[in-house]
Amino acid sequence: MIAPSRSITQRTQYYRNGMLLLLLLCVPAPGTSIGEPVTQGVIPETGLHYWEWQGQGALFRLTQRLPDQTRAFFLARGFAPEDADFLARKCVFQTLFKNTDPAGGATLEYDLDEWKVHAEGTTQGLLTRERWGGIWEARGLAQPARIAFEWSLLPTRQRYQPADYNWGMTSFGLEPGTRFDLDFFYAREGTRHNGRFEGVECPADVHPEPQE
């Protein structure tokens, strides 16, 4: 058996090291994203779907809420059953918006009134706090229930410094089971960014029974 020459062994070693480094560079670092900033998935524990944007200093996530979840939440906060049902059937999502920049980074701003919902050939805006305010006024919702509702929603307009975020509900005013596309916008240090979630699904109004 002929022993490999020193230069061949060295080259092999360099090659291995180079491949290792290449492999390492291909593995995304924790907390970073590669490729498309939009991801979609299912929460294993609940089976509910989510749509997420992570890029250009922002994390924005929509997670389905079953109409029954929304009914139960607002019934516990002073809503009459007919008002809780009315709201629950308006396509409510749990929502997170966060400035992901490190300390000293850019400021983010959004305005929900600029966002567009495309469904069944029409385009409309979100049902924001202000729009709901008029609806509840007309329906005569009691003040304590209105306070709980108002603060449960994602703010209509917000400005985030690095590490700031809000968690709240968003309502798209569509029937359960409707699919829609969402065009969303935000500004980062004055520069406008936009993204689109396609095929977002308002969760169906299902009432699962316990399995025997």
């Binding site: 062994t9 060295q10 070693q13 090291n17 290792l20 480094l21 390492l24 670092a29 924790p30 907390g31 939440f73 906060r77 966060k98 920049d101 490190p102 300390a103 003040q143 304590p144 306070i147 709980a148 108002e150 603060w151 449960s152 994602l154 703010p155 209509t156 307009r157 917000q158 985030y160 410094q161 690095p162 590490a163 700031d164 975020y165 809000n166 968690w167 709240g168």
Partner: protein
């Protein structure tokens, strides 16, 4: 041969260092308070806590006050309560006060909440949301740091790690000024 082994070892150490750096950076999410320009005066309030005692913000002049707006149904608000309690245990002897203002809920709701999230600092009731509407708040939780002269010095939207030493130092330094 020995030189090659040394190179491989150095390379492995470099890789390990890189991985550790990445992991550390990922865990080290910013926990900063944001300075409020020109430090506007904090709107005064007089609110009852869950035992009925009245707390007036202006009575705390000369102390640094953490004013936290929250609600029991708000998951991030619940999430930061334990860290706020642990911070309170560190700062309560340093003339730093925490006033956590619940928005729109009654004593019974908050009392039930404290069974799962025991806290020792005052939990105040803004039943009709009149106080929160006077403050620059758009979502919960939002927290303000009021300086010894009653001015809003810092603000945080969303949760923070209130035990973070850099954050606590910011509060202590504010007290010294």
């Amino acid at each position: 041969m020995i030189a090659n082994k040394a190179k491989t070892l150095l390379f492995a150490l470099a890789l390990l260092g890189l991985i550790i750096t990445q992991a550390t950076e990922a865990d080290n999410s910013p926990s900063t308070l944001h300075a409020v320009a020109d430090r506007p005066m904090a709107p005064d309030f007089a609110l009852a806590d869950i035992d009925g005692a009245i707390h007036r913000l202006s009575d705390y002049r000369g102390q640094v006050v953490i004013v936290n707006f929250w609600a029991t149904w708000c998951p991030p608000c619940r999430e930061e309560m334990p860290s706020m309690q642990r911070a309170w245990e560190q700062i309560q002897d340093e003339d730093i006060v925490i006033l956590a203002i619940d928005v729109g809920e009654d004593e019974d709701t908050i009392f039930t909440f404290t069974a799962d999230y025991p806290v020792e600092f005052p939990l105040l009731l803004d039943l009709d949301s009149r106080v929160i509407q006077e403050w620059p708040v758009r979502g919960l939780p939002t927290t303000f740091i009021v300086d010894t002269q009653g001015r809003i010095a810092y603000r945080a939207i969303g949760t923070r790690d209130w035990e973070d030493s850099a954050l606590l130092n910011t509060l202590k330094q504010l007290h010294d000024r």
